[in-house]
Amino acid sequence: MDGTQNALLVPSTTDTPLLQVTGLTRLYGARIGCADVSFDLWPGEVLGIVGESGSGKSTLLSCLAGHQRPDAGQILFDGTDVLALSEADRRRLLRGDWAYVHQNPRDGLRMGVSAGGNVGERLMGVGGRHYGRIRDTATDWLGRVEIAAERIDDRPSAFSGGMQQRLQIARNLVTGPRLVFMDEPTGGLDVSVQARLLDLLRGLVREMGLSVIIVTHDLAVVRLLADRLMVMKSGHVVEAGLTDQVLDDPQHAYTQLLVSSVLQV
């Protein structure tokens, strides 16, 4: 449960965690969204959050990403208290150092704007005012997510689901964020497309040294991507540790159920 123990096992570039979360609680009236969640996330680390539907993992992610305000707890990003930030600073963080990949690419993309415009938006949002350079960067990023350069002026509505998801990832990573939130990034994609997307994500995460918090109910996804894992049930973190350790030797009854429920092909 204590992130600091596991942190010793994770390669880190600095002495302080990138994100420190303590006692995060979000209530929906009398019902619990998530309760008393604490963890540290180190630079370059990928943290997976798994659990069944309604276990509070999406609530936790939206609290972390600033989409909802938690009722209690503290979130420190790089030593800064995120919850105490002004609206302007918080949104600047969301545009620059943070990125959020939605489950449904339609939530994260502008469907009426071309692929190049989608990728360029964050660049223009942080002050890019040179068309040629914005376009070059967008072309480069489309290449990195395996979208052909000649599709740069096509709208996302002309893209397949997998391409839309890859475009959303390019759009989010173009400004070189340090922390990426992902909500079921492979949800709704067929398995071969999922595999390619996971390959791509794994490559980008390693290459850019990203810290990632990834929420999913798919254990295969966290097995591939995550260094560390948190298992949630009824709003509480019931088990946490290194991914392989949790999946291969689950301690909590619920984790054992979860691991044994995966269909073997």
Binding site: R91, R95, G117, E121, M124, G127, R129, Y131, G132, R135
Partner: protein, 291 residues
């Protein structure tokens, strides 16, 4: 009911007072959209209900009113609004830009330079420049508040990506005093440079959307662009066929079924003024006699 039954300039004094308060706030925060309690006017939305309310709030009995529609003094919209204020306010009217103290306009800034003491009232259909990119009003207000204007450049980016240049030809977005991004109403981008450093007071009224915004005299207004695709004020590459003016904004008029066309100044007052001063264009009725 006789025309005397109406209050001066149609609106009651409390309403004009409310509008004047919005105008003062708008002038104090150039480019900021001030909400106001827009009234039903005896004309359809889209005909300039916002402009008419602003004009009504500004008029005094001594004012001289000019109304133009696409630069012309003699189109239906201009004639109707001018007669409306003639009847309800009894003010003097004129077609001359120089003589007018209040000018209500739809889609143009007059060619004749404005002077201190004049008021230019624009009719605005959609005051929110970010509207077509971000449909949520709560979000656009937040974006204005936090100066998040990257999205505006996404629109210009799309223009260049699709057309090779910034194809937005009217309602071209501007930044006011380095702060608020503003929709200058659907004036051609040819007129954009005239917004900046203008000695006249410029007031913008959007009736259906219940918004007023303003540019005080000598306000700095910059048209948005990219470093490698700078803003260009464009017009048809011709001279006026009636008055020969090469520097005024032109309307293209199809003259027969064989594809013949002529270009004439969209500002009728400017054009007739030049003709009266003896300037002649390619198709002037008198040009043959003179030649």
């Amino acid at each position: 009911m006789s025309d005397d039954a109406y209050n001066f300039a149609y609106l009651d004094e409390q309403t004009k007072r409310m509008i004047r308060r919005a105008l003062l706030k708008a002038l104090a925060i150039p480019g900021y959209q001030v909400p106001f309690a827009s009234r039903e006017m005896p004309m359809p939305y889209g005909w300039g209900t916002g402009g008419v309310q602003v004009t009504a709030a500004c008029l005094t009995p001594d004012d001289v009113l000019k109304v133009i529609d696409q630069g012309a003094d003699d189109t239906t919209n201009a004639v109707s609004i001018r007669r409306f204020f003639q009847r309800t306010a009894g003010v003097a009217t004129t077609e001359s830009t120089a003589e007018a103290t209040v000018i209500q306009t739809r889609h143009r800034i007059p060619e004749t330079p404005l002077t201190e003491g004049q008021i230019l009232v624009y009719q605005v259909p959609i005051p929110e420049p970010l509207r077509f990119l971000e449909p949520r009003e709560t979000e656009t207000r937040k974006m204005h508040e936090l100066e998040e204007y990257g999205l505006m450049h996404v629109k210009l980016y799309e223009d260049i990506a699709r057309h090779g240049e910034i194809a937005t030809a009217y309602a071209y977005p501007v930044k006011v005093e380095g702060r608020y991004v503003m929709d200058p109403s659907p004036i051609p981008k040819f007129d954009n440079p005239k917004l900046s450093d203008n000695p006249a007071i410029q007031l913008f009224g959007a009736g259906r959307e219940s918004r007023i915004y303003a540019l005080p005299p000598y306000t700095q207004v910059v048209s948005l662009d990219f470093e490698d695709h700078p803003f260009r004020a464009s017009k048809a590459d011709h001279a006026c066929d009636l008055c020969g003016a090469a520097e005024s904004y032109l309307d293209e008029v199809i003259t027969d079924d064989a594809g013949s066309r002529m270009f004439v100044c969209s500002d009728t007052d400017f054009c007739t003024g030049r003709q009266a001063a003896g300037h002649r264009g390619r198709l002037s009725p008198l040009s043959k006699e003179i030649a």
